[in-house]
Symmetry: C2
DNA sequence: GGCATATTCAACCATTCGGTTGACGATTTT
DNA sequence: AAAATCGTCAACCGAATGGTTGAATATGCC
């Protein structure tokens, strides 16, 4: 039970993996396409995807020779609930999220892809 | 900016540190008292507290020879906002949180006071 | 069949992590 | 002043993490 939180939080602790999740917000992607923007080997990305899968944050389905990666946002629920307990945050401020997302996307434009 | 998220999420990835945060929900505590329920050295707990402090999740203030640890829930806000973007969670389900908290407290009762 | 593409496996490497122990500095108590 | 308490520091250890490379395994295409 607390192992789930271990897996989710440590999966989220890596900026490459958070970037991958952000990419998957747009659409499902094949492993090769996920890897394309990053300056690291395909094998490294494959490992990151395995970690995200084990944490339940994404699922992977092989169709033909390509493996599709799909965001599984439900896995965040337990972690989110855990965090909500520490202080009463304003309920789901999506404006703030969008600003944050813009910032993070803009930021990754000089380093990652 | 994304370093903040690194620090917060990796701080939360350790069950000992999450347990410490949960203890601090009740009240501010001295380092020795934080360490008491755990089956590990004071030095180890001191390191965990340093990590939580660097992540901004707690603050530490030395008064006399005792160092007080205080929860700083605001540090969770950025991480919480980031997570909220992945799927629309119901706004702050405190019932679910309380159930979760009970479960987590019950689980650590073998080593807790 | 034979070749290209998609993905993982296996072995390796450097670094970080979570823990230990013992010495140490600072403060309070007697 | 001496002794006890609070907490950190430093050095060390084994295991996990994040990356590399090269070979291996599927699958699709000509």
């Amino acid at each position: 039970m607390s192992d789930d939180l271990d897996a989710v939080f440590s999966a989220l602790a890596d900026p490459t993996r958070r970037a991958i999740l952000t990419m998957l917000l747009e659409d499902d992607m094949a492993v090769t396409d996920v890897a394309e923007p990053f300056e690291m080997s395909l094998a490294a990305i494959s490992k990151h995807l395995t970690i995200l899968t084990r944490a339940g944050l994404i699922s992977q389905e092989k169709r033909g020779r390509v493996k599709w990666c799909k965001l599984e946002p439900d896995a965040l629920r337990a972690a989110s609930v855990w965090m909500q307990g520490f202080g009463q945050f304003e309920p789901v401020n999506l404006d703030a999220f969008e600003r944050f997302l813009d910032a993070e996307l803009g930021e990754s434009e000089d380093s990652s892809p």
